[in-house]
């Protein structure tokens, strides 16, 4: 049986190092299986998060060979066999232990976003194409890989002023819900710092759910902010409780 070498970060907030482990590779095996093997046979104290092992719960994020990934969805045979595989915790968040990071900041951002607030309607009719549009954003599994790569958070540490791509996706899901009645453009502009995003698209590249974060969420939201703040007509329509969605108007 083939063997892989894993270099896993071991340590805490105070510091740590890469430790090397050898793991037999079976067909169909994913990186999470390899980590479990290490945990079972060599390092019972290796800390990691996981749960569903099916790419649904968003727990098992890490940086595999320098790329943010879900370890349960990354097959060993998709990685170069001749080099050690490095597994590091997500860099944008403080390490708690080994591969476990402190992601609680994300939940504090989430708390700022007002939940769905339906418009006064008599009948709850919605059409599948409209549902499909919000489904794309609602697919987000909150793995926070996009938050991890976004340079505004990762390099510039603007956690206090910037919500990050995950929460632009969240706002898009609400704003584009056919029956939502709130406007969150003020929030986007003032508290979530949408203007700090310079559309590098790194977030879209790593999203395991294939959400087109930049094209379908961020750019339309940026347009809405512009419309709302610099176009009184849009502002008035909103005041009257009408939702104006660019994409709908054009189609």
């Amino acid at each position: 049986m083939a063997e892989a070498i894993l270099k896993i970060f071991r340590g805490t907030r105070e510091g740590g190092e890469l430790a090397e482990y050898r793991v037999p590779v079976a067909p169909g095996m994913v990186v999470l299986d390899a980590l479990h093997h290490v945990q079972k046979h060599q390092a019972p104290d290796l800390a990691l998060r996981w749960n569903c092992k099916a790419g649904k719960c968003g727990s098992c994020s890490a940086e595999v060979n320098g790329r943010p990934r879900l370890t349960c969805k990354t097959r060993m045979d998709a990685l170069p066999q001749d080099k050690p595989i490095t597994v590091l915790p997500m860099k944008a968040f403080a390490v708690i232990k080994d591969l476990v990071t402190d992601v609680s900041w994300n939940y504090r951002v989430n708390k700022k976003i007002p939940p769905f607030q339906p418009r006064a309607v008599t009948e709850w009719k919605m059409y599948q194409p409209d549902i499909d549009r919000v489904q794309e954003f609602r697919k987000c599994i909150e793995c926070f890989l996009c938050q991890n790569v976004c340079h505004v958070l990762r390099e510039h540490g603007k956690q206090e002023h910037f919500g990050g791509p995950r929460f632009f996706v969240r706002v898009a899901a609400l704003e584009m819900h056919p029956l939502d009645g709130l406007s969150r453009t003020h929030l986007l502009k003032d508290q979530l710092g949408l203007g700090l995003c310079n559309i590098t698209k790194c977030c879209t590249e790593v999203c395991p759910e294939g959400i087109r974060i930049t094209d379908n969420a961020i750019i339309p939201l940026k347009e809405r902010v512009v419309d709302d703040f610099y176009d009184p007509w849009h502002w008035l329509l909103r005041k009257l409780g009408k939702k104006v969605s660019k994409s709908v108007a054009e189609h």
Binding site: K56, Y127, I131
Partner: protein, 590 residues
């Protein structure tokens, strides 16, 4: 020791827990509500539910039809008063979810779309893409943010209940990040900890489904009900146990044996039809389909693989368009985890442990016999599922009974006093126990992984799809031995921060209790009904066993079993009939 005070405490942040939290906060906005969960709520197992949630909404369907399907599906072990409540409140709950923003899939006219599901005579399963549980959980989570009274304890693990003066007064919990152990007190506690599939080796259940709530209640003297009824889902991927949703069969998928033959026709499940027909063949109930698989293995009609015998699910005739639009996630899973494209290839499948019908004994408001303690969701047994749950009934169940338990617990909390001194000193004792037994002990010789795999082995060979007295007694002996050996457990990790080995040990001790309850209950029921099939006692015995099994643990540690009556309102026990004859015209599924 730190102590925090709340009025209503939820153990669990899955669908049931969050629904209950909202109900409690709505019942009385002045109550302080705590949600304690060992994982961030969105990681809970509810995210994994794909297929959908049943609720009567379409013209031509009736509440009685849904009730009858549920009761006959449960082989008449369901409490019919509970089922009547359930079918009535399910559509109300599902609509409420829509009003909280859940994107249910639509018909072309803009109304809610429904799909067919196994064991259901009418199409009544609502779905949100093929990620129903996911959307349901996220909607509930976002909705809880509206209520300031809800405090979350994310990544806190509950290790025991505080019980004094005959009522539950809170819990002891361990914070994963810091290792801090503290008392979280409350006037009523609702267990919403989900199922226990991880007691078995091959399961669709996520790693957190270790039956913690069942064990916590059991240890506190509360009875567990109908624990012998464990559901196998007929279509799991053989290597990973990942589930291929029943929707694949509802869309028209076929199950075939190694000769390409649709073998279900040999097991009293009807005859093949070109279009899927409800309650027929592949759309029969899960227990019967899983049992047919075992018979096919015995006949040598299955295909051997390194991961055991399999049959195949054939979707090829559905064509690329249907697969991509109706079952995209099925295709993605097959491609990702098995390197198989269902558009061109057969999917190997075998039965896999999926759901726990049994659980903590509750009434129709989620109340257990122990004052102050409630349970809802998969951890509870009301029982609407009887001897076999129908697919897509458990999401609406956790909404209906989560909401009921939340309301009842809130009302009860308003009349209670603050926790007693003695309850708090119990928390001190528990902290000392955790330190002595795990964190400071260096001499323990047994290892978590070893005991766990021996437990898996015992459960699989002793209490599988078919069981008998010998197999069950062997399993019971083995579990007794393992519980004894567990006392000598030793950890290699004694650290306080994110000690996953400690969690694994605590979960293992819960699973050993839950596993024993399953085996003892199965020994007690000397008949075959629904998902509980005894080779030494074939056939249903209504004379003696039209009754729930209650299992108790006495304070001296000894186990006691009792029977409790099943509530029958309008549907007297009858034979379960599935399948159509070739000449009978039934409503086609699509």
């Amino acid at each position: 020791m730190d102590i925090s005070y709340h009025d209503v405490l939820l153990v669990g942040g899955g669908g049931a827990g969050l629904r209950a939290a909202i109900a409690a906060a709505e019942t009385n906005p002045n109550l302080s509500v705590a949600v304690v969960s060992k994982v961030y709520p969105m990681r809970s197992h509810t995210v994994s539910a794909e297929g959908g949630a049943a609720g009567v909404i379409k013209p031509g369907d009736t509440l009685d039809d849904h009730a009858y399907d549920t009761i006959s599906g449960g082989d008449w072990l369901c409490d019919q008063d509970a089922v009547e409540i359930f079918v009535k409140e399910a559509p109300e709950e599902l609509l409420r979810l829509e009003h909280w923003g859940c994107p249910w899939s639509r018909d072309p006219d803009g109304r809610i779309a429904v799909r067919a599901f196994g064991g259901m005579k009418k199409m009544r399963t609502w779905f949100a893409d093929d990620k129903t549980g996911f959307h349901l959980l996220h909607t509930l989570f976002q909705t809880t943010l509206k209520y300031n009274a809800v405090t979350r304890y994310d990544e806190w693990f509950v290790t025991r209940l505080l019980v004094d003066e005959g009522r539950v007064q809170g819990v002891v919990a361990l914070q994963l990040m810091s290792g801090r152990i503290q008392a979280i007190t409350a006037k009523s506690v609702i267990l919403c900890t989900g199922g226990c599939g991880r007691v078995f080796p091959f399961t669709t259940n996520a790693s957190i489904k270790t039956g913690d709530g069942m064990a916590l209640a059991f240890q506190a003297g509360t009875p567990l009900k109908d624990m012998e009824f464990v559901q196998y889902h007929p279509t799991g991927l053989p290597f990973t146990g990942i589930l291929i949703t029943e929707a694949a069969r509802a869309e028209g998928g076929h199950l075939i044996n190694k000769n390409g033959y649709r073998y279900l026709q040999d097991y009293n499940l009807g005859t093949p039809t070109p279009q899927p027909v409800l309650r027929n063949m592949e759309l029969g109930p899960r227990d019967r389909l899983s049992q047919a698989f075992v018979k096919e293995v015995e006949k040598g009609h299955t295909t051997d693989t390194p991961y055991g015998p399999v049959v195949h699910l054939d979707l090829r005739h559905l064509g690329e368009k249907v697969i991509n639009t109706r079952l995209p996630f099925v295709r993605e899973l097959c491609l990702k985890y098995e390197n198989i494209d269902p558009i061109k290839e057969l999917i190997p499948v075998r039965p896999v442990i999926h759901y726990m019908m049994g659980g903590v004994h509750t009434d129709n408001n989620g109340a257990t016999p122990l004052a102050g303690l409630y349970a809802a969701g998969e951890v509870a047994c009301v029982s609407i599922n009887g001897a076999n749950r129908l697919g897509s009934n458990s999401l609406p169940e956790l909404l209906v009974f989560g909401a009921r338990a939340g309301r009842a617990a809130a009302l009860a909390a308003m009349e209670q006093r603050t926790p007693s001194e003695h309850a708090i000193s119990q928390a001190q004792d528990e902290k000392a126990r955790l330190e002595e037994q795990f964190l400071r002990k260096t001499a323990g010789r047994e290892r978590v992984a070893t005991i766990r795999s021996e437990m898996h082995q015992a459960m699989e060979s002793g209490a599988g799809i078919y069981r008998n007295q010998t197999s069950l007694e062997n399993a019971a002996d083995k579990l007794r031995e393992l519980r004894e050996r567990f006392r000598d457990i030793g950890l290699d990790d004694h650290s306080l921060t994110f000690n996953t080995e400690l969690l694994a040990a605590l979960e293992l001790s819960f699973m050993l209790d839950v596993g024993s309850a399953i085996v003892e209950s199965a020994l007690h029921r000397t008949e075959s009904r629904g998902a509980h099939q005894r080779t030494d006692f074939a056939g249903r015995d209504d004379q003696n066993f039209l009754a729930h099994t209650l299992i108790f643990r006495n304070p001296d540690g000894r186990i006691r079993l009792e029977k409790a009556p099943v509530v029958i309102t309008r549907w007297p026990p009858a034979e379960r009939v599935y399948g159509v004859k070739p000449d009978v015209k039934e409503v086609a599924a699509r």
